[in-house]
């Protein structure tokens, strides 16, 4: 009895396997096209995700580098600032010379008058 039942099971399994394989191979063209489309969409999605995950660390590294450079460079710029202030003091110190330059025409005329007076 058990052997008969096992044989029956074997028959069912074998028939199911054959039918399944045949069915898989004979899927209609529309379904195959739909499956191909789904697969391509999935692969495209994967490629987009891969590209994003590849560039993310690179972008992160670039940003980190920029931050490090900024942090190191900024205090140096702060050190330069007092020198600029000293330069400004120098300019302020020669403020009188600037006044001379602004009134240069007057001083030149004054000089000419003096020369003419001494000559005359």
């Amino acid at each position: 009895m058990t052997t008969e039942r096992d044989k029956a099971e074997e028959q069912i399994v074998e028939a199911a396997q054959q039918h399944w394989q045949k069915d898989e191979q004979e899927l209609d063209a529309d379904t195959l096209r739909a499956l191909r489309g789904i697969r391509h969409s999935a692969i495209e999605k994967f490629k987009r995700k891969s590209a994003w995950t590849t560039w993310l660390p690179v972008s992160g590294a670039a940003l980190a580098t920029a931050l490090v450079v900024a942090v190191v460079w900024w205090p140096q710029q702060a050190d330069i600032a007092p020198d600029i202030q000293i330069a400004d003091l120098d300019i302020l110190a020669v403020d009188t010379d600037l006044e001379l330059l602004e009134e240069l025409d007057f001083y030149l005329w004054l000089e000419e008058i003096r020369d003419e007076s001494s000559a005359g």
């Binding site: 028939a15 379904t31 999935a42 994967f46 995700k49």
Partner: protein, 178 residues
């Protein structure tokens, strides 16, 4: 690392089988395609980084989960329909069945063909879990452990579902003097 080609090859090798599994379970082409799409998208999104050897069991498991979700939705719809008097038949989640495919192909007139047609109808009429376990074990050749992983259940459940499926198939196909 770009393993899109390997992934494409893998999915190509699985797409027909996954579709058939889903179609047997749902009886609906569009729903079956949706299940395959969800499964493929989930695999590439969550498990593409795993080794190729792991893709097979994971993909089968995802397909099975999607089939289960699809049946839950259908069961919920049927319950709502019953509450509102649209459908007086309630078989419960475990006993939800698709109508057996009794459509006869004129070309299938021989004894063998009739047997195959009857087998297909009997398979589609099995409760989903029994049907899927039978397909995994008998048709796809998975062992109990692999089937249990795919179905997210215990090995004992797999044995029980398979045994019940075989008994029902034998009963329904007894007319063919197996």
């Amino acid at each position: 690392m770009d393993n899109s080609r390997a992934l494409d090859r893998f999915l190509e090798s699985q797409e027909r089988r996954a579709y058939k599994m889903a179609f047997y379970a749902t009886g609906d082409r569009e729903e079956a395609l949706e299940i395959v799409q969800d499964a493929m998208f989930k695999l590439v999104e969550k498990y593409a980084h795993k080794s190729e050897a792991d893709w097979g069991p994971l993909f089968t498991r995802i397909v099975q989960n999607r089939i289960k979700n699809s049946y839950r939705k259908r069961a919920m719809t049927q319950r709502w329909q019953q509450w509102f008097g649209a459908n007086s038949e309630d078989k419960g989640d475990a006993e939800i069945r698709l109508p057996a495919d009794t459509h006869s192909d004129p070309l299938r007139e021989s004894h063998d063909s009739k047997f195959v047609t009857a087998l297909e109808g009997a398979l589609k009429a099995l409760p989903t879990r029994q049907q899927q376990v039978f397909l995994l074990r008998a048709v796809q050749g998975m062992d109990v452990k692999q089937s249990a992983f795919a179905m997210s259940c215990s090995e004992g459940s797999i044995k029980t579902h398979y045994s019940r499926a075989i008994h029902k198939l034998k009963d329904q196909l007894g007319i063919f003097n197996l």
